[in-house]
């Protein structure tokens, strides 16, 4: 602590250089935070996946349906605790840019499979009682100003026409990562109005009695419908979500590569800054050693200076990106779960500190090894 004034005075010695260096860290950490938030958004499905849930879809493709009649047969499999189903509606509100996911759900069974979503009982009852009712996630409701009692027209891109729904409830999640952008309405309403594909559903979601049963139940399910016209592919919800992300390419690798390039560049820039700072102060470091500052103390001073750049810039960048992510999804619907978790912020700060240590390491060792007699001659 007693060396703080010395470290601080050295930091502000060249204000432009200090500002640019801290700015470099700030920009890099902003980008890190942004990439982390994007990765979180892409992994949303994996993160929110229930460990005791299986997704059962048509073996050919996710867009191919399954018969509604499968529900009772699935329920007979040992280890199955509950079954629900849903269908993708694929509509938009007023304008194609106003996209949010709409699902036709099996109302009586839905909440048994998805206990993490909460809807006030009175609102759920009103929803159940209204054939044209819908329940909207808090995020979507806020974004479009939907309130309970509103009548919302949705343009149906798959089934055709404009479908009108009555907002009967707003749902929340019990976890931060829960998706609050969905729009649920009754599968029975879809069944009644659709002109084709009656008797089919998009996919089933099965809740097993305990997570250890997930694999055998999935195998039993697929075996049950093998060699039928509608063969199934069953997998855990996490595997299903991960597979979905994979379809878009190796996002994780892409983010890792971009992040690594940014940090390596930052290391080169700040390493050069620290090297210049130490080279300029060779005489002063020699004076400190002359006065009795040990080699280790000099090493510590240079490293502390490097860390000060890193932490100030890191905090600046992370606070900025946190504020940015708090404004919500910047893509208008592609990344519904766009947020930066405290853990990722901590990781960012650690990364900044690591770059700070690496950037300061060589100059600090050179300063530590500085021979007083030689350095004083250069003053």
């Amino acid at each position: 602590m007693r060396y703080l004034p010395l470290i601080w005075r050295n930091l502000v010695r060249k204000k432009v250089r200090t500002t640019l260096t801290i700015g470099s860290y700030g920009v890099a950490l902003f980008l890190f935070g942004l990439l982390a938030a994007i990765q979180t958004a892409f992994n949303q499905g994996v993160e929110v996946a229930g460990v005791d849930r299986l997704v059962v879809r048509n073996k050919v493709s996710l867009i191919m349906p399954l018969p509604q009649a499968y529900r009772d047969r699935i329920l007979q499999i040992r280890g199955v605790r509950a079954v629900t189903y849903a269908s993708w509606f694929g509509g938009y509100y007023q304008d194609e840019r106003n996209f949010f996911p709409q699902y036709a759900i099996d109302t009586p069974t839905f909440r048994r499979v998805y206990p993490e979503f909460s809807v006030p009982p009175s609102e759920w009852s009103a929803f159940e009682a209204d054939q044209e009712g819908c329940v909207v996630g808090r995020q979507t409701a806020q974004k479009y100003g939907f309130k309970v009692g509103d009548r919302v027209p949705i343009v149906a891109t798959i089934f055709g026409g404009v479908w009108e729904f009555n907002v009967r409830g707003i749902y929340d999640g019990t976890r931060q990562q829960d998706d609050l952008t969905q729009f649920w309405f009754h599968a029975r309403y879809l069944e009644e109005r659709r002109r084709w594909g009656k008797g089919n559903v998009g996919w089933y979601v099965v809740r097993v009695a305990n997570p250890d049963l997930a694999t055998p139940v999935a195998a039993a399910l697929d075996a049950l419908f093998a060699n039928s016209s509608w063969e199934t592919k069953s997998e855990t919800e996490a595997a299903f979500a991960a597979g979905f992300v994979k379809q878009m390419g190796n996002i994780k690798l892409l983010i890792l590569v971009i992040g690594s390039v940014v940090f390596v560049t930052l290391l080169l820039v700040t390493g050069n800054t620290m090297a210049m700072a130490v080279r300029e102060r060779t005489g002063e470091l020699a004076v400190l050693k002359t006065l009795g500052f040990s080699d280790r103390a000099v090493l510590g001073l240079v490293l502390a200076e490097s860390q000060a750049y890193a932490l100030q810039g890191g905090i600046l960048g992370l606070v900025a990106v946190k504020l940015f992510t708090m404004r919500g999804d910047p893509t208008g619907g592609m990344l519904p779960l766009f947020y930066l978790s405290p853990a990722k912020m901590g990781l960012g700060l650690l990364a900044a500190a690591a770059v700070g240590a690496a950037a300061g390491a060589i100059p600090a060792v050179l300063a530590m090894r500085l021979r007083i007699v030689h350095a004083l001659r250069r003053v």
Partner: protein, 237 residues
């Protein structure tokens, strides 16, 4: 008492025996100091004179523990410097030596107060105690009203007085002055020498000073001449 014949009393504060310092430059071997003996008792004010390249600064570096001899021993206040490890030698410097340089060597980013406080950062003194010590040292050199001035805001003479305050603030065993007036005009040089003389006469400080300035050397109690690595007594007041 100052002696250069190697027959000094055992209670000398500084004792050098048969000290050699050899530098290697390329294939060339340069003998800077050869078989040098020196005994300095506490409270002495010794001036070293000699032509450029005679080894004066090398001698000060050895006495201040900034460099080690190629051969021979240097014992200061009972500590043989060659036996001290790097960290121990740094701690020894902090405790025993006050350095005054020709170019002052103040840290430009620190105020006079902060520059003088530097040696005290290595002690266990509290902040309040450090403040008391710094203010006392700066008032002793006549700069109590310049605490918050940066070196660039001070004249050369004032900078050197801040450097003297930094050298004495931790009350070291002895002061090493390398051409303390070399970069000053006559008036400032006289002020600085007056100050060093007072430290010797009134406070009993041991001073070893390298100088080219005969007027500065006149202030010392003993004058030693160094030429071609050999030390000879040139005068005594």
């Amino acid at each position: 008492m100052v002696r250069v014949d190697g027959n000094g009393s055992g209670d000398a504060l500084i004792r050098m025996r048969e000290v050699d310092k050899v530098y290697h430059r390329g294939g060339e071997v340069i003998h800077v100091l050869q078989g040098l003996n020196l005994d300095v008792e506490a409270g002495e004010f010794v001036a070293f004179m000699g032509p450029s390249g005679s080894g004066k600064t090398t001698l000060l570096n050895l006495l201040g523990g900034l460099d080690l001899p190629t051969a021979g021993t240097i014992v200061v206040d009972g500590d043989e410097l060659s036996r001290l490890s790097g960290p121990a030698l740094a701690a020894w410097r902090a405790r025993h030596v006050g350095f005054i340089f020709q170019m002052y060597n103040l840290l430009p980013v620190l105020t006079a107060f902060q520059n003088v406080e530097l040696p005290l950062l290595l002690t266990r003194l509290s902040r309040a105690e450090r403040r008391d010590h710094v203010e006392l040292a700066l008032s002793l050199v006549g700069l109590a009203d310049r605490l918050d001035h940066y070196p660039r805001q001070l004249s050369g003479g004032q900078e050197q007085r801040v450097a003297i305050a930094r050298a004495i603030v931790a009350d070291p065993t002895f002061l090493l002055c390398d051409e303390p007036t070399g970069d000053l005009d006559r008036r400032s040089a006289d002020e600085v020498m007056e100050l060093l003389s007072r430290l010797s006469a009134e406070y009993g400080k041991t001073l070893l000073m390298v100088t080219h300035d005969p007027r500065a050397a006149e202030r010392a109690g003993a004058l030693l001449h160094l030429d071609k690595g050999v030390l000879v007594e040139a005068g005594r007041r």
